[in-house]
Symmetry: C2
Subunit: 222 residues, 2 copies
């Protein structure tokens, strides 16, 4: 069976992407990158999720000695929905991490070459795209070209980038996840690392809205 490297974060989108890669006929190799997030909760959830899915799991630690994002820099407050909207109206949210997906995809491409995988999966999608430049389809197409012309396996037409969620909104992603049997109770969306989700941050609000629109209950709260 063909192998795929799947970027896993502990969140809902990458969990659905992991199960989608399996459905598409790949043996998934989850890659979990610890880049100094504010909390370790999403890492724990990612490990649990990979176990549930029966996926291989590789974790790497990455210390970037520069900051510039509220997700990395504890000195900057995480925006609540209200302030996040304010920031978004000015452009890009303060939770943007410089070139994050480019770093993640470059690591995943390297790992994919090393294990002779045929695809790299990322769970970027349209609702993220509104805020983060490195979640847009245009960007993913550009990175796909980097993989195809810049790696040995890409040149041999045996490595490509897959982003199956790109055109979906949160409710559609949750619907797809349900049909794939994703155990949502092992996914974490909240920017805070408390024992329960804060329900106030941008990410919590998007998740709650998604479950509501999909007509489903979020098992994380049960």
């Amino acid at each position: 069976m063909k192998k795929a490297v799947v970027l896993l974060s502990g969140g809902l989108d990458s969990a659905v992407t992991l199960y989608a890669s399996r459905k598409m006929g790949y043996t998934p190799y989850a890659l979990l990158i610890d880049y100094g997030q504010r909390h370790k909760k999403e890492l724990e959830f990612a490990k649990r999720l990979a176990r549930e899915c029966g996926a291989h799991l590789k974790m790497i630690k990455l210390d970037l000695p520069w900051k510039g994002s509220s997700l990395l820099d504890k000195a900057i407050d995480i925006p609540s929905l209200r302030s996040a909207s304010r920031i978004k109206s000015l452009g890009i949210p303060s939770t943007y991490v410089p070139a994050r997906n480019t770093i993640f995809l470059s690591m995943a491409s390297s790992y994919a070459e090393a294990i002779r995988a045929s695809a790299v999966f990322i769970g970027a999608h349209v609702e993220d795209s509104s805020g983060y430049p490195d979640c847009r389809q245009k960007y993913l197409e550009a990175f796909d070209r980097v993989v195809r012309v810049g790696t040995k396996r890409g040149l041999e037409k045996r490595l490509k980038l897959e982003y199956p969620l790109i055109k979906k909104n949160k409710a559609q992603i949750i619907g797809l996840g349900r049909s794939l049997g994703v155990p949502f109770q092992y996914t974490w969306s909240c920017y805070e690392g408390l024992s329960k989700p804060c329900l106030k941050c941008d990410s919590c609000v998007l998740r709650a809205k998604g479950f509501k629109e999909a007509g489903l209950k979020d098992p994380l709260y049960e």
Copy 2:
């Protein structure tokens, strides 16, 4: 003055690129990535070179828990010129590190955003291009697009990729370096980390040929 992040390796090409960035009106911020090379010699040379140039220097350590290249994996013999030529005739040299330049450029782009730089410099050139897919102009153009559509500063048209050596051969790079005042005695090319260059490996042979063609003496041997 505009800032530029310059990928520095300790070798000759990145040294010339560092001095070229300064000549082009940038304040250079050298980025040195220790990715588990076989020897630390090139790291020491890079530090010395940055000091000589008066460039800022940032060093990051990167442990990739997968191998696949003779430059990372001590179990694989480094090819001498003869065997390297043999491997090259089959395609890509065994010294190829999976997606190396993509990883380096992604780190450099992130650093560039964090310090609000206007360019990322890399010293890739035509003679490397024959062997490594991620040294070709086609690849660098693809990555330039990733920077322009995938970063905040790129979208604002304030960040781009520069590769001033791309069309030059080793002799031309050495000629340019001389005109820029590059102290070649602080550059290291040999794949081995002995006290003196081995003069047998691919990289040593290319360097010697370059100096000969440029009609110059290599100060490293004086």
